[in-house]
Symmetry: D2
Subunit: 361 residues, 4 copies
Amino acid sequence: MPLKDRIPVAVLGATGSVGQRMVALLEGHPWFRLGSVTASERSAGRTFQEAASWVLPTPIPEEVAGMQVRATGPELEERLLFSALDASVAGSVETEYAQRGHVVVSNARNHRMDPDVPLLVPEVNPEQQALVARQSFGGAAIITNPNCSTIGMTLALAPLHRAFGVERVNVVTLQAISGAGIPGVSSLQIIDNIIPYISREEEKLETEPLKILGELADGLVAPAPLTVSAQCNRVPVVDGHTLCISVELGRAVSAEAIIDAWDSFRGEPHALGLPSAPSRPVVYVDEPDQPQPRMHRDLGNGMAVAVGRLRPCPLLGWKFVTTSHNTVRGAAGGALLCAELAVARRAVEGLRDFEGGASAS
Amino acid sequence: MPLKDRIPVAVLGATGSVGQRMVALLEGHPWFRLGSVTASERSAGRTFQEAASWVLPTPIPEEVAGMQVRATGPELEERLLFSALDASVAGSVETEYAQRGHVVVSNARNHRMDPDVPLLVPEVNPEQQALVARQSFGGAAIITNPNCSTIGMTLALAPLHRAFGVERVNVVTLQAISGAGIPGVSSLQIIDNIIPYISREEEKLETEPLKILGELADGLVAPAPLTVSAQCNRVPVVDGHTLCISVELGRAVSAEAIIDAWDSFRGEPHALGLPSAPSRPVVYVDEPDQPQPRMHRDLGNGMAVAVGRLRPCPLLGWKFVTTSHNTVRGAAGGALLCAELAVARRAVEGLRDFEGGASAS
Amino acid sequence: MPLKDRIPVAVLGATGSVGQRMVALLEGHPWFRLGSVTASERSAGRTFQEAASWVLPTPIPEEVAGMQVRATGPELEERLLFSALDASVAGSVETEYAQRGHVVVSNARNHRMDPDVPLLVPEVNPEQQALVARQSFGGAAIITNPNCSTIGMTLALAPLHRAFGVERVNVVTLQAISGAGIPGVSSLQIIDNIIPYISREEEKLETEPLKILGELADGLVAPAPLTVSAQCNRVPVVDGHTLCISVELGRAVSAEAIIDAWDSFRGEPHALGLPSAPSRPVVYVDEPDQPQPRMHRDLGNGMAVAVGRLRPCPLLGWKFVTTSHNTVRGAAGGALLCAELAVARRAVEGLRDFEGGASAS
Amino acid sequence: MPLKDRIPVAVLGATGSVGQRMVALLEGHPWFRLGSVTASERSAGRTFQEAASWVLPTPIPEEVAGMQVRATGPELEERLLFSALDASVAGSVETEYAQRGHVVVSNARNHRMDPDVPLLVPEVNPEQQALVARQSFGGAAIITNPNCSTIGMTLALAPLHRAFGVERVNVVTLQAISGAGIPGVSSLQIIDNIIPYISREEEKLETEPLKILGELADGLVAPAPLTVSAQCNRVPVVDGHTLCISVELGRAVSAEAIIDAWDSFRGEPHALGLPSAPSRPVVYVDEPDQPQPRMHRDLGNGMAVAVGRLRPCPLLGWKFVTTSHNTVRGAAGGALLCAELAVARRAVEGLRDFEGGASAS
């Protein structure tokens, strides 16, 4: 699609770790073009290059480097906004933008558990997008993306939940430093070290999956009857969250059946041909010492989850390991996929008369 | 005690990671003096400094640097041998030395689960030392030290098991690279990465604690009726294993009762005044983001286990985190404590008429 | 070009760090297709996936994963061979293959300083390819690629040498672990550490640039009258060598003139449209704290050198910092570019009647 | 000496990286006892444990953990103050405390180059302590400690300068993250990376050694006629700065003579028996790949400099590598030694009638 026909979007909180990834993923996106970047008052007026302490391995996209950063809060022309705001400000700011008619796709935790806000993993619960109809923003809306660890875990659990039922889950995470933002974790605290704590993270992992795997009934989500126990650790890895998961399934199954459930899992993003949809959202890796974050975080352009080491668990039945890219699939890329889904399904009124889907890509 | 009166000992496999730590810990030991170091045929005849690719942060003890390395296998004068041999050779070599009259205290896995071999954590199951009476080596014996992760976990579980009973345990480990020896893990595989697999490690964690926490009856150990599920990971940390543990206890208890069980735990090594016994084997650290390996691995000269983050687990009841030094408490220091126990209790005949214990230190 | 028309090539020593990178870069190469991979006798007969302990962040190319590894030494059908062999065997093996009629493009140090062997950085000294005429292999030949640090330094020095003359150079390197191969540097030695020594590396940096920047006269290379002093360090970085360089130039120049010499530098690979040629081989980065290996190693698909921090040096006149990818530009990619140059210039007889160059790509 | 007789001291800026190290080194110091710790207004009133984000591998000294932090600026009872203040505030604050009668031993750069302020490396230029006589603070004084890299380099250069004259020096540093304080370097910027820039560091390395190695004449320091060129890099190492140095000496000497100059170097702190003086300030390590920061940073309790790899340099004559602990020898320990020197020499009036030196330790 010619650049002028692409949907203009803005990134709120663009100078942070997730914001930078969002900016990088929007470069050359076939449906969207980046119109504005915002940050705190302090950064407003500076060029993006000056304001952002760029940490990604690819250079700043040229057309964004010189873009003037705008303050978060005042009016923006773009109807579609990606929010990479810090949770300390995201709640009210996102609501205000929605009230002014914007569609906000957010990575922040603030609205995730609101009963009328979709918490989307597009391959897993696209139907929950319908929750926006309960929002009181006219044609505008707030759509949220789960926590960076939740996405990877939920993508791995969803095929099992559909096929066999998932009843109890124990998860211990080994999370990359990029999830903590910029400046985030001090190097003095994490080199040659582990920090066995991430603020609020365990709570998110124990609640968000229940909503995502829940059922939409009478316009509301009934949480899945699932118990999750989580322990979260920060480790000296740049990108890629690794999760050690044990699950109790609803019935006895073979390892082959489980692996087949993962490998055959697809979902609506793939069917719709969304530009950011990985060809296979879950990939089983059959090596004894994999998946590994450095090796698998870029699988499917960072949008797929690698699963491996499936074996019996004497407590819950089965255990396995997952790795996924925390700032791509787990944040910026996940939000992008949510927005693509909204466009393709015309689920959000007035986003514009856009011909998304396979034909457009 | 004057140097000449100290018990002469040898270290088998002294050039490896655990062997080096053993050599370092023996420097200035009040009861023992290092008489011989052995390594493979290839290293025999070279000085220890030449043969060992020394990786510890303290220099090679001066009196060992120039010591000539002997081949593992042929006769040694020292009656007490510490084995830091690789499991590929330890099994038969240790048996041969015991048959020739040596007392072998071993870090290798080979004999750990033999029914007549003590698998000792001296604070936890000193009475199991009595198993040596079933061995057929005359006054000689093989005594073993558990796996580096098992020791830390078992020290944290033992006070709970005594006080409340432990029925089910889930453990996910984040293990330091020094546990893999020299050269061990390639830097290309572990920098900016996690390896979610350590050969045979999960099996050890799922079986060894049952023996250690078991009961001695009729001269044999009845394993504790405990189920353990383990997932093991290698992380880019130099020293210090961190474990995320969930436990189901035998009865409902308060957090205070659990913490009190840890903090009040002592054991025989402390009572006997063994030189390597930490004043408190288990230390509860009451900070939200601790214990951490870099901060706590040297607690109690590397012989104590730091425990923290006790909180309810929706699946098993309680969860918490432990950190302990894998090559001190988890290997060389643990073996040293086993040997000190044997000496102090005169449990092993003929080790020599040595006045160990508090009076000697 | 259709796959069947591409020139078949083999990679010698394909399972090592450079060999793996070579295999990865050949995937989808427009002129070459990988026909065979070789390794030591021990690996022969196994699939590439089994034999290689793959460490790259992208997966093993599918068509190579199942390829049977052949032993290095016996006959190969492919005329063009890329040697990623260890220096301990490369010397004689490469000579033997050349004697049998192969064109060998080598990363090993063994033949680099032979007077009749080109030591090529294609942007810098493409004319030295003519040295092959002095070789006694008929139409076959040995062509070499410089050391991984030499390439980056020489690319940065060449524009200055052409424009102003370079007389004295001091260089201190901070080299990535991937340069040491697999298993290479033990993680126990390099995490939270520096190793201020790399075997033979300083010697290479002090001699190879003289040949590369030398002049071809009467069919031989007269070394450039240049003095280089090098200190080499291994640092805990996965990929990307950083060099701190001071230079004494032949005459007084301004910083602008130096930066302009770098930024305007192009060379024959670009003119010929070689597939692996970066559009700009040397890129000056105008930020106070750059270049950095993680940020710049992939510049120009890993084939460009980033230079920055140009400032006066009170001893030699100017100092600056360079970063380049050691296994791409510094090894596998550099060798590929040498081979592309040979094909495009038909410099090596009989490589085949191949229409290389811009028209073919 | 009984605790009550020890000289009470305060640490200004005690919660930072150097301040924490200062607090740790004062624990159990035979001459000093810590009376107060200060920090910014924001931390005042909290306990030290609450206010400090403790990063050292040893626990917070028990008697300091509960100490109430005072604001920096208001009156303090202790006459002797150690300043670990940030340079943004140190200049005026230190002057004010000196004006009020305190002896301030500072790690900050602000006053280092003031003509009447001693910049001390006690083994090298103890006589420069006499500069305090030119200060206008009555019996009070400001004494400074050099930059963390300067100290290591100057200790290595001083024996050569005395014996042979040092004329030109090129130095490239690989500096640990602890030198950047807390939070200091973001982990996202330094893991798997190098930052080839440290603000103002090169300037310090190029100027401070001239003052330290200078001669005291007519009550002023005449800088040594020395030219230094420095390039500074931050590397992913926790503690320990490594320096690659080339030197041009005043005359031709042998390697043996240089090594002997280092190994025989002692100085006044050792002669006076100062508690923090290392028995040998400079230790030559004769291994091809040493010194290394992890292995040598704790040499002499972190107060010695390890030197190694002496070899000819084709440009300047000789080159070698040094490693020293940047927050011990390079900051807190260095300041402590300066204070011990002042006490032992009674160089600063009224510090108190204290019997320092060998007899007191």
